[in-house]
Amino acid sequence: MSAHDRSAQQLARQLFKLTVVDGTVSPERVTGVLEFVEKTRPANPVMVLRAYRRLVAAELGRGQAVVEHAGAVTKAMLEQIAAALTQKYHRPVTATARANPALLGGLRVHIGDDVYESSLANQLATLAASL
């Protein structure tokens, strides 16, 4: 990693720290950071913003669960999942549904880096691998 890359990463991390208020990403702070970058023009601003975007996306991902489903998912189910994850991760979590017929049945929940797999497709894949 070149010195330029390193300093861009470092600045992005500093800006990200300023963006998080009470454990969540503050939209006002994001606007402030973007204005700051626009105004001060640090070396390699594109790299800084890309690194910053990655950090913000990862942080937002930790508070947002994506529920992939093959069958029907009710609003109550989504609320139940969101409540369970809020309790588990000790932070407010919202859940959004995304249809994925490839799962054949069941659910797959993505939150941050974690994936909770309870789909028929996965069980079949596990069975196939064990044969």
């Binding site: 991390r13 990862a58 941050g112 309870s118 996965n122 069975l127």
Partner: protein
């Protein structure tokens, strides 16, 4: 025990309909067998991670917002954005006797086309070396079958003896000879039915070698009937650096199984110079800070943690290591050679000049040393070869001075003559290890002056003829030397009688 638990857990996992939690990440960049991954927040150092398409990786760099992984296997199918999953497991390889006679890759998968390996157990590739409490000092010999080594630089079970020299000086040949000799001893020992006999199983790890060289070594072992006691772990020059980096550790894990289960094993790392180069490549791509000769700061630990795994365990077996280092223009003071010299319990230095003069194996007696010394020698070898190293060293010194003048006193002339005869006696063709009892007889004959009247050029042939004579006509005497492991008056008497008969029949 652990295998049984794993089987039960696998069965539970198969039947369970509960949600499975996985920790994932995505490939941000991938180059030269190294991937930088976003995510994988739960990954552990050295943990195995699963890439799409069956490739696996090892997490080597855990940074604040990315993970650096080396990929073992085919990287051609991987691309930016692919999902990577943690496995919660350390990299493990199959171990056990099922591997004997097989050639496997760095992950323990067969590459010899002889079908799958029926191995019940696995061992982690990276393990902490045995501590000081469980170790025992090295006292049991491990015969290489090379007279110059067994008599002057003895190797013991559990020792680490470095074999160092320039390219083409016969480093691999020495190790192949040693493996062949173990197989010969195993066959004799197992046939004798002696309950105290402990066979030595061998593991040959080829790192960054040409595929043709590995095939040649395999053929030599097969021709000598040694392959059935040997495991070949190959990460050749065509394999990616991650496989070359992991191969010696995989081999060590296979050797540890024998050691832990009360057996003796020998492991050859051919060679650690290429291993260091592979690790340097990985480290540079991982952007780790580089030091001397661009090697990373932990290159010493790379080899020390590997070689420390060779040991003799109290109440269990042993693992003897023969690492190989290739020098450039005989420079033993380069970075990697000095590192490995300081880690091992001695070194066998091979010289290009000696090799070119036809002195093969080209062992430089002056620069070679075994720190275990005579503790790993049988009494018979000590009796016949105890003073050889000193005599040869004296010979080299005198020979250097004798070049400058021709007027030499009788004593010097006799020392020079004796020295040249010893040098001739130690010449030995490749892949022909000599059993220890025949070595003792050959050296005893030297000690008693049986080769003195011969023309210098005929000493090697005479010694070979003597061994042939003893092997074909005096098997009982040789068995006695082997079992007693010491020369008493009776044995010396018998040996003298046999040698007199040989002398009468031998025509130079």
């Amino acid at each position: 025990m652990s295998t049984a638990l794993e089987q039960i857990e696998q069965q539970i996992a198969k039947l369970s309909s509960k949600a499975i939690k996985k920790n994932t990440g995505t490939i941000r960049t991938i180059a030269d067998g190294v991937a930088k991954i976003d995510g994988l927040s739960d990954v552990m150092y050295n943990e195995m991670v699963q890439f799409p398409g069956g490739a696996i990786g090892i997490a080597l760099n855990l940074e604040e917002d990315e993970v650096g992984c080396v990929i073992l296997g085919d990287v051609a199918q991987l691309k930016e954005g692919d999902e990577v999953t943690t496995t919660g497991k350390l990299l493990s390889v199959p171990v056990g006797k099922a591997l004997l006679g097989r050639a496997v890759d760095a992950l323990g998968q067969p590459i010899d086309g002889k079908g799958p390996i029926d191995s019940k157990e696995t061992y982690p590739v990276e393990r902490i070396a045995p501590g000081i409490i469980v170790r025992k000092s090295v006292t049991q010999p491990l015969f290489t079958g090379i007279m110059a080594i067994d008599s002057m630089i003895p190797i013991g079970r559990g020792q680490r003896e470095l074999i160092i020299g320039d390219r083409g000086t016969g480093k691999t040949t020495i190790t192949v000879d040693t493996i062949i000799n173990q197989a010969k001893i195993n066959k004799v020992g197992l046939a004798s039915g002696d309950p105290k006999f402990r066979p030595v199983y061998s593991i040959y790890v080829a790192i960054g070698q040409k595929n043709s060289n590995v095939v040649r070594t395999m053929s030599a072992l097969e021709a000598a009937g040694a392959l059935e006691y040997t495991v070949i772990v190959a990460a050749t020059a065509a394999d990616n650096p991650a496989n070359q980096y992991i191969a010696p550790y995989s081999g060590a894990a296979m050797g540890e199984w024998f050691m832990e289960n009360g057996m003796d094993a020998l492991i050859v790392y051919d060679d650690l110079s290429k291993h260091a180069v592979a690790y340097r490549q990985i480290s540079l791509i991982l952007k780790r800070p580089s030091g001397r000769e661009a090697y990373p700061g932990d290159v010493f630990y790379l080899h020390s943690r590997l070689l420390e795994r060779a040991a003799r365990l109290d109440g269990k077996g042993s693992l003897t290591a023969l690492p190989i280092i290739e020098t450039l223009a005989g420079d033993v003071s380069a970075y990697i050679p000095t590192n490995v010299i300081s880690i091992t319990d001695g070194q066998i230095f091979l010289e290009t000049d000696l090799f070119n003069q036809g002195i093969r194996p080209a062992v430089s007696v002056g620069l070679s040393v075994s720190r275990v010394g005579s503790a790993a020698q049988i009494k018979a070898t000590k009796q016949v070869g105890g003073k050889l190293k000193g005599e040869l060293a004296q010979f080299r010194e005198l020979a250097a001075f004798a070049q400058f003048g021709s007027d030499l006193d009788a004593k010097t002339k006799s020392q020079l003559d004796r020295g040249s005869r010893i040098v001739e006696l130690f010449k030995q063709p490749a892949f022909s290890p000599i059993p220890i009892e025949l070595q003792v007889a050959t050296l005893w004959a030297m000690q008693k002056g049986y080769y003195d009247g011969l023309d210098l050029k005929k000493v090697t042939a005479a010694a070979a003829a003597l061994r042939e004579f003893l092997a074909s006509r005096n098997d009982a005497l040789l068995t006695k030397i082997r079992t007693k492991a010491a020369l008493d008056a009776d044995l010396e008497g018998e040996l003298k009688a046999a040698l007199e008969t040989w002398k009468a029949t031998f025509s130079a």
